[in-house]
Symmetry: C2
Subunit: 313 residues, 2 copies
């Protein structure tokens, strides 16, 4: 279906058109088919979730916010005491080479460092050989126009709380998704598309793979504490500034979110996606609102013009 004239979302990045055979991986110095990129079942990244990762978007053959993602990845490495033995320039080179070799112009790059294996009988992580792995897969844009207008119907799942920062620091991007996955199952059981989790303090934290943004009377508001510092959220805040819309990080109560004029999720894969119903009640008009549409249109206009894009070639 055609996009309504005021919604500039590309319509060619669908699951049907994606060519998974162009996927490609990198592991330990070599480029290889994605199916061959594996970790041992004794890797601590698998056994103990002792790993970090990041996800980047490839747009028109370039990498979106490459240096921002590398900043976060290297901060996560340092925080989690991981060191794959590659310099920032080398990691950058791996990512650019994946784009070049795959020939994919629209893609997701997944980058991770895992603790690796220790000899049997030894659990000491200092004895493990750490590994850097990465892959590239075609970008499938969740936000196709009809889907985008409808948006997500979300449930605020009060019975599962986001893992608190004094247990696992969410700013070091990690695979501790048990709370997010559990909340998603419960939300789906109740007929919702996705879940929004609260922190131990009862305020909104984040959802499975996304930050939450509400449009209140004072402008955009996204939770400041206990969440990943989402780069897509930062992007939307920068775009809001260009459009003259105030935006800030702060405390977002579930009641304030339910009473928002508009709400959306931000994530690397799709930039933003509207949240149009919460706990069965419409957010604003119950469809993607005018600020949400303005942000996403400006997002695509800017990216198509090369904003924050590092060419891979």
């Amino acid at each position: 279906m055609l996009a309504p004239p005021d919604l500039l979302i590309p319509t060619h990045l669908t699951a049907e058109r994606a060519d998974p055979s162009r996927s490609l991986a990198y592991a330990d110095g070599a480029f290889l088919p994605l199916a061959e990129a594996t970790v041992s079942m004794r890797d601590h990244g698998f056994m103990y979730a002792d790993m970090t990762y990041d996800v980047l978007q490839v747009w028109r053959g370039g990498i979106f916010r490459l240096e921002d993602h590398l900043d976060r990845f290297f901060a996560s490495l340092a925080g989690l005491r991981l060191d794959p033995g590659l310099s920032r320039e080398e990691v950058r080179g791996v990512l650019r080479e994946l784009v070049r070799r795959s020939g994919l112009d629209y893609a997701l790059l997944y980058l991770c460092c895992t603790r690796g294996e220790t000899p049997p009988g030894i659990r000491d992580p200092a004895r493990a050989r750490q590994r850097l792995l990465a892959n590239i897969t075609p970008l499938v844009l969740r936000g196709q126009p009809a889907e985008f207008r409808r948006g997500w119907h979300a449930r605020i799942v009060g019975e599962v709380r986001r893992i608190p920062p004094d247990s696992v620091n969410p700013r070091w991007k990690n695979s501790h998704w048990g709370d997010l996955s559990r909340a998603l199952w419960l939300a789906r059981d109740a007929g919702y598309d996705t879940a929004i989790l609260l922190g131990q303090d009862g305020n909104v934290a984040e959802g499975p793979g996304f930050n939450v943004v509400a449009l209140t009377e004072e402008g955009l508001l996204s939770p400041a504490e206990g969440v990943l510092e989402g780069i897509a959220c930062r992007t939307m805040f920068e775009i809001a500034a260009r459009l003259g819309i105030p935006a800030r990080y702060g405390t977002l109560s579930p009641e304030a979110l339910q009473a928002a004029k508009e709400a959306f999720a931000t994530m690397t894969s799709t930039g933003l996606f509207p949240i149009t119903r919460i706990d069965g009640r419409p957010v604003g008009e119950g469809v993607a609102g005018p600020v949400t549409v303005a942000l996403v249109n400006e997002y695509y206009r800017l990216k198509d013009a090369g904003w924050h894009i590092t060419p891979a070639a």
Copy 2:
């Protein structure tokens, strides 16, 4: 070195004597070398810690508390909505076959079910193909006599709290170890052997891979809430009952632990291991105490007599 006459810990199960070449794995219906047992870097068990596992001990060619571990494994599967498509009898068969094929009489069995992969662009766990993997490796007994007498010097790491049960249910055995790993690094930085974590309520929870047990004036006490229901801890409580020592689950404050007459960690690999110093101060006499030694001696006596052991053949 020889064990003192009153400490019945076998001395032949050392890292030096273990033969890792007898390790063996199982994956998706086949037995294979451990090095070939891998998961995709796109497996949700790796990307999102969406998996469960259990660890069993092989003793004198039989499996210790096989049915108790299967009870827990199948409860974890159900809780986490994992189903590898094998019956309990089939899983039991895989474990026994690993013992038989490896020829290992003293070993650890690692059993896991992981969510598996979804197609690129799709994160829906309902679309993943789940996998059962397992492996067997030689048992290396941490508790060699001299090591055992010295025990662990533990730090109560107050600045990292155990992931609370309303975020990730600890009774469904899972790989969410970020808090445990972080606490272990911090304890080691400060010169300690291991870490003990507190829950959000400030009471003792557990350590990296072990339950904590204190000997107080009223008998043995281990935390009841926010911890894995350790089978080794249950074993020690059963042995305590045989020896006429009261034992219960309850609330254990850090102060009560520091003031304990004896303290120890319980885990499948070694049964129990003494904690002889906490935060720089001795627990009791600062060496493995008489109750700890009585428990571990009875543990080996009973296991050697076939207590709770299911023959693999």
